[in-house]
């Protein structure tokens, strides 16, 4: 079982910042011409500093590690740490800027659920399609067809076009195909985030089982630490494109949690990955979230969170609402704060809104905030303007006297300390 399956050696991936691509031939010629005549670049945006233009961003810098056969490696890190870039390089979607990647075996990458599914084709046809895209031959798919249909729990609908499927069925079918591939290396990027809990568990069990029985190697990226715990036997922590930890799962997770910079007051969201795709995305953009406290995003238990959001409007809008979802660092949703009809805006405006969230009921621990700007029209249809998952991580710190100094164990007690029970009459003694 010591066979080497994946080798990543000094891999670096560089992206040009600013407008990547999207240039026209005209701009390229203008720029080239200006360079020739030693003139100022006419396509440069006014106000953009010289250094900023063509600035490079290292998504991964000098990353090296080996993965042996049968290992299930979880890759964790914050937004922008380079997790997805790493998976993209290993699955050959884009090439590294420098370095070497060696793979010993067939690769299946599931960076998205149901890649290549075509709405007009039936479930069965899509199994062939998806399987072939992932690198199977028709014969191999035929041999596994029954297992795939069985696992997907979609037998009844297998000859119906997938455009009539519910999103849950879609996910189940797609995952079933991937889970039954005969590939030696499997790459997954948060694909399990969709689908119901029962199916999620079924998938994780299946993955663990094939990894143990057939020695399949798995690279898995997730923000959900519980799935990492269930599936992986090794963790690699990435931070700003570098490997900061490689080894035991629990240790890795705790290192990742500690890396959270809760002391930083201001959090820039412009570079964060947007976690939703909606037609109206980008009409108002969250640029920064700033805590009012000097201690940053660290607040004593029973106190309230005070902060301000900084937005930029790209369109005239009315009654934009702000929503802030809270989940544990493991990825479990706890609750949500709403601010419906918070503001209206005009195109080009920059808006700052001071807000207070009553977090006094939250138990000590780390929490992850998802920030969403949304709107509801008069017919009740909603739309997202911006959606940043894991926007802020804040910590509620334990204080002397909290919970009568009893240890708060979130595993048994949960994450919310509701008000104390009230006695509704006189206590009767007999």
């Amino acid at each position: 079982m010591d066979e080497l399956m994946v080798r990543i050696e000094n891999v670096t991936k560089e992206y040009k910042l600013g407008q990547i691509g999207g240039t026209t031939l005209q701009e390229s010629i203008q720029r080239f011409n200006a360079k020739l005549l030693h003139k100022e670049d006419p396509t440069k945006k006014i106000g953009a500093s010289e250094e900023q233009y063509g600035e490079k961003f290292l998504a991964l810098s000098d990353v090296s590690f080996d993965v042996k056969k049968g290992e299930r490696v979880g890759i964790i890190g914050h937004n922008g740490a380079g997790k997805s870039t790493l998976l993209k390089l290993v699955s050959r979607i884009t090439a590294p800027t420098s370095g070497f990647i060696g793979l010993n075996g067939r690769i299946t990458s599931m960076l998205e659920v149901g890649t290549g599914f075509h709405a007009e084709l039936t479930g069965r046809e899509n199994i062939y399609m998806n399987g072939a895209i992932l690198g199977m031959t028709k014969k191999e798919i035929d041999a596994k067809m029954e297992d795939i249909i069985e696992f997907s729990e979609c037998r009844k609908f297998i000859d119906t076009p997938v455009k009539r499927y519910s999103s849950g069925m879609y996910v189940k079918l797609a995952f079933s195909v991937a889970a039954h591939l005969d590939s030696e290396i499997m790459i997954m990027d948060e694909v399990l985030a969709v689908g119901d809990m029962a199916f999620q568990k079924k998938c994780l069990d299946k993955m663990t089982q094939v990894s143990k029985d057939e020695g399949r190697t798995i690279l898995y990226v997730s923000h959900n630490m519980n799935t990492i715990r269930q599936l992986c036997d090794r963790v690699i922590v990435l931070n700003h494109g570098r490997v900061t930890f490689d080894g035991d799962v629990e240790e890795g997770i705790s290192i990742y949690m500690d890396e959270e910079e809760c002391s930083q007051k201001e959090i820039d969201l412009t570079a964060c990955k947007r976690t939703h795709d909606h037609a109206s995305m980008g009409e108002v953009v969250l640029e920064r979230i700033v805590s009012d406290r000097d201690s940053g995003w660290r607040i004593p238990v029973t106190e309230k969170l005070e902060f301000s959001i900084h937005l930029k409007a790209n369109k005239d809008l009315e009654n934009v609402g702000f929503r802030m979802g809270l989940s544990t660092a493991d990825g479990f949703a706890i609750t949500v704060f709403l601010a419906p009809n918070l503001f209206s805006c005009k195109k080009g405006e920059k808006i700052t809104i001071p807000l207070q969230a009553d977090t006094s009921l939250l138990a000590p621990g780390k929490y992850v905030m998802t920030a969403v700007l949304y709107g509801v029209n008069e017919y009740g249809a909603w739309s997202f303007y911006d959606h940043v998952g894991n926007a802020v991580i804040f910590e509620v710190e334990n204080q002397l006297g909290f919970n009568e100094n009893m240890d708060w164990d979130p595993r048994h007690w949960g994450h919310v300390k509701l008000p104390e029970l009230a006695v509704t009459g006189s206590i009767i003694k007999k």
Binding site: S64, R92, A95, F100, G102, L103, T115, E120, K138
Partner: protein, 290 residues
């Protein structure tokens, strides 16, 4: 990393070899190519009443309009060589339109390879060449249907008689001509698709240039219309020998020049290989710029 350098089945580095075209790997994905072809076919005719009949209707109507406008109204010649020949204008326009149709449809479809498939290609690896190859093949299906339509009309004219159409050994050229059309159109298509990952202007240009290019080909008129002094220049258009030879093959009379035919073949092959090289260069990192 102390072990000796091992041999990996797949190695990914930043360097790219000029002639590394992944051809062998692409052939391993022949099932995927077939599935793409099937998908294109099924998807384009699903929920249509007439289905694959549309493949016939389009060129048929175009041919009727051409016969009326260019034949009857404008009175343009339908002869490729001077002489007393009777070529039915209807069949003349049909052959030209079907050939040109395959050529231009394949170019416009393959030129969108990277941009139209970025959703899939950004999420999973398969040899990127699979896409243009399957596009070229799936465009052959309507072409085959149209070719059958030509055969029906051709038989009609042959049996009815009264035209100069004769069955000649030139018919054997047809497979070669089809092959050449594939090379030329796929070659141009993948060159454009490689360039459009950076410069979107080209997508605007493609449909427009194809429209103009059609006028530079003997689709709506016979070769005889071209003045002698421009003939050499005109024949350098690689599509011209394809169309005229195709017509020669079908009618048994027409224009054929081995010299220009070979030039056109050479041009097609060169374009195809430039396309392959460019394509394999761009495919590695196009996701970063597209």
């Amino acid at each position: 990393m102390l072990e000796q350098k091992e041999n990996f089945r797949t190695e990914i580095t930043s360097e790219h070899k000029l002639m590394d075209l992944h051809l062998k790997e692409t052939l391993g994905y022949k099932d995927l190519i077939l599935l793409f072809v099937k998908r294109d076919f099924v998807a384009s005719y699903k929920q249509t009443l007439l289905g694959p009949l549309w493949a016939v209707i389009q060129p048929l109507l175009t041919t009727i309009v051409f016969t009326f406008v260019f034949g009857n109204l404008a009175g343009l010649t339908t002869a490729d060589i001077p002489g007393e020949f009777v070529i039915p204008g209807f069949l003349f326009y049909m052959v030209g339109n079907v050939c040109w149709g395959y050529f231009s449809n394949t170019i416009s479809a393959t030129s969108g390879t990277f941009i139209n498939n970025r959703g899939t290609m950004g999420k999973v690896y398969y040899p990127r060449l699979v896409s243009p190859i399957s596009t070229a093949i799936s465009k052959l299906i309507p072409f085959a249907i149209q070719f059958a339509m030509i055969a029906v009309f051709w038989l009609f004219f042959v049996i009815r008689g009264g035209t100069s159409i004769v069955i000649s050994p030139m018919l054997l050229f047809i497979p070669l001509l089809i092959l050449q059309m594939i090379f030329l159109s796929v070659g141009l298509g993948i060159i454009i698709s490689s360039l459009t990952t950076k410069y979107r202007d080209l997508t605007m240009l493609v449909s427009f240039v194809l429209q103009l290019w059609q006028y530079a080909c003997p689709v709506a008129y016979g070769l005889e219309l071209i003045p002698k002094q421009y003939m050499a220049l005109y024949m350098l258009n690689p599509v011209v020998p394809i169309i005229t030879t195709f017509r020669y093959a079908i009618f048994g009379v027409g224009y054929f020049s081995l010299f220009y035919y070979l030039i056109s073949w050479a041009f097609s092959l060169i374009v195809f290989f430039i396309g392959l090289i460019l394509f394999s260069r761009i495919e590695r990192t196009f996701m970063d710029t597209v």
